[in-house]
């Protein structure tokens, strides 16, 4: 008896597992990962066919029989077309752009269609709600976007979504469940209000009245993220590789944004303030370093550096 039930349960589990089968991106939608069920409209269509069938029987009308069976066959054939509209489609989750808490995280998906047939009306669905819809032309690709609100800093894992289609007739719904393996980095929300930057390491003095652009030192190769104001445009105009002007002041006096000097604030408030300082320091073109418990980011500047600092703040436990 118990053996029988356990076999049944195992069978049910196997079924549950099968029905819940998820593909991890990047994924090719394969035969065994696609499910098809009739839509509500499909059931309504079946109801209409039933009425027609009864009419045909009642009047013994062969042409109505033929018409009914033709429509039924069209519906049956459409299952294959619905299925084929997804099968072989390659879905890749692209890395989302980092956002700040409160902004909307956007998870892009790329759909690649290597077949010679277009795939119209392929959509993205979350908890049975349509999120996005697109056509994927033959031998081409298209994109779908999943937008999620962000409530906490850190890594935001996207929920499992469904890629689905009801093309061509809307009578059947084919779908694959996908795990998107690209979390979105959510930066902390910066503190608002007036929060002056801490003074430089050598505690002011020389800082006053210096714009940070006085002491021209040298030219170095341009690195992505360098402030456009510091690019040596004359060099660029001569057709040479872009160079960035390096100023003595910047190199001499990095600001240290230090976790331990904000001991009076609660943890999240410290993070919010450090986040704001990173943004302000970057905006004013200064070099800045970040000291956090257990890690230290050496002074620098530029988009890359800003990202490293904000990432460290976002991922603090």
């Amino acid at each position: 008896m118990t053996a029988a039930t356990s076999v049944l349960r195992r069978q049910a589990q196997r079924w549950g597992l099968r029905l819940g089968r998820r593909l991890a991106t990047p994924a090719t939608l394969v035969y065994r990962g696609i499910y098809v069920l009739p839509t509500r409209n499909g059931l309504m269509f079946a109801g209409m066919l039933f009425v027609l069938w009864l009419t045909a029987i009642n009047y013994g009308n062969n042409l109505i029989f033929a018409f009914t069976f033709l429509l039924a066959s069209v519906a049956l054939v459409s299952i294959l077309h619905t299925f084929r509209n997804l099968r072989g489609l390659q879905v890749t989750a692209l890395p989302p752009e980092p956002v700040f808490v409160g902004e909307t995280a956007v998870f892009p998906l790329q759909l690649r269609n290597d077949s010679s047939v277009a795939r119209p009306a392929v959509g993205l669905e979350l908890e049975r709600t349509l999120i996005d819809l697109t056509d994927v032309p033959a031998r081409s690709h298209a994109g779908l976007l999943l937008r999620r609100p962000t409530l906490r800093r850190g890594l935001l894992q996207p929920p499992a979504v469904r890629i689905f289609t009801i093309f061509p007739l809307g009578l059947f719904h084919a779908w694959s469940t996908l795990e998107l393996n690209q979390p979105c980095l959510v930066y902390p929300a910066p503190e608002t209000g007036p929060v002056p930057l801490p003074a430089g390491a050598s505690s002011g003095g020389k800082r006053q009245g210096r714009s940070g652009q006085d002491d021209f030192q040298e030219l170095r190769r341009y690195r992505p993220g360098d402030s456009p104001r510091h690019v040596a445009w004359r060099v660029v105009a001569r057709g040479q590789d872009p160079q960035t002007k390096v100023f003595g002041g910047e190199n001499l006096m990095p600001i240290w944004l230090d976790w331990n000097r904000l001991a009076t604030l609660p943890k999240e408030a410290r993070i919010a303030r450090l986040c704001r300082w990173v943004l302000d320091a970057e905006a004013s073109g200064q070099r800045y370093g970040l000291r956090l418990p257990g890690q230290e980011i050496a002074p620098g500047s530029g988009a890359e550096h800003r990202h490293r600092c904000l990432q460290a703040l976002a991922l603090l436990p």
């Binding site: 309504m44 029987i57 018409f67 429509l71 039924a72 819809l133």
Partner: protein
């Protein structure tokens, strides 16, 4: 069901070309029934079609629910008075025409569009109760094809602007369906009705 949001906030359900095509094809499916319909029903059906077209053209609101209910009850009562019943061949087809005409005024959700398409199929099929000539078979096969083309467009959450975009696919579907239909036609059990 779900609260009917004003159409303006979501945009029209169907583009004007698609809606026009839908009206024309519904008319195509209903037209062969016309000679047997009472005059008032013809006027009602044509009136509803024109009203719908005009409303879509001008972006006007569709008639309120109470008016539709009134027209529905009135049409059913009229058909009953005409034929002494709502069942049977003649009152049945008359009722189908009335339902399709009034459904035109109620296309709020995608489901309503579907219902209209299904009524179109029923209208086309029931014509075989009256006329089984080769000409009519061809005419109704074309109507069925056109309805299928439209079904491909109308169900989509974002219907393409061109209603004929998937016409060739509808042809493919129908051609692929014919062998299956023949098998069903031969082997599907038929209940004999003793009269």
């Amino acid at each position: 069901m779900t609260a009917a949001a004003p159409t303006s906030s979501r945009g029209p359900l169907l583009s004007l070309p698609t809606l026009t095509t839908l009206l024309l094809i519904t008319a195509l499916a209903a037209a062969p029934h016309a000679p047997r319909l009472p005059a008032w029903l013809l006027v009602l059906a044509v009136g509803c079609g024109l009203w719908r077209y005009w409303a879509a053209r001008r972006g006007e609101r569709l008639p309120p629910g109470w008016l539709r209910t009134l027209l529905t009850v009135g049409a059913a009562a009229g058909i009953y008075l005409e034929h002494g019943s709502l069942l049977g061949r003649d009152p049945g087809t008359a009722l189908l025409v009335a339902m399709a005409a009034l459904k035109l005024l109620e296309m709020r959700q995608r489901r309503d569009v579907h219902v209209l398409m299904y009524l179109g199929y029923l209208l086309a099929a029931t014509q075989f109760l009256y006329d089984q000539s080769i000409g009519m078979i061809v005419y109704l096969a074309l109507t069925g094809w056109a309805l299928t083309v439209l079904l491909m467009v109308a169900h989509q959450a974002r219907p393409p602007a061109n209603p004929w975009r998937h016409a060739h696919l509808a042809t493919t579907l129908l051609l692929q369906a014919i062998p299956v239909m023949l098998i069903l036609f031969v082997f599907f059990p038929r209940v004999a009705v003793t009269r």
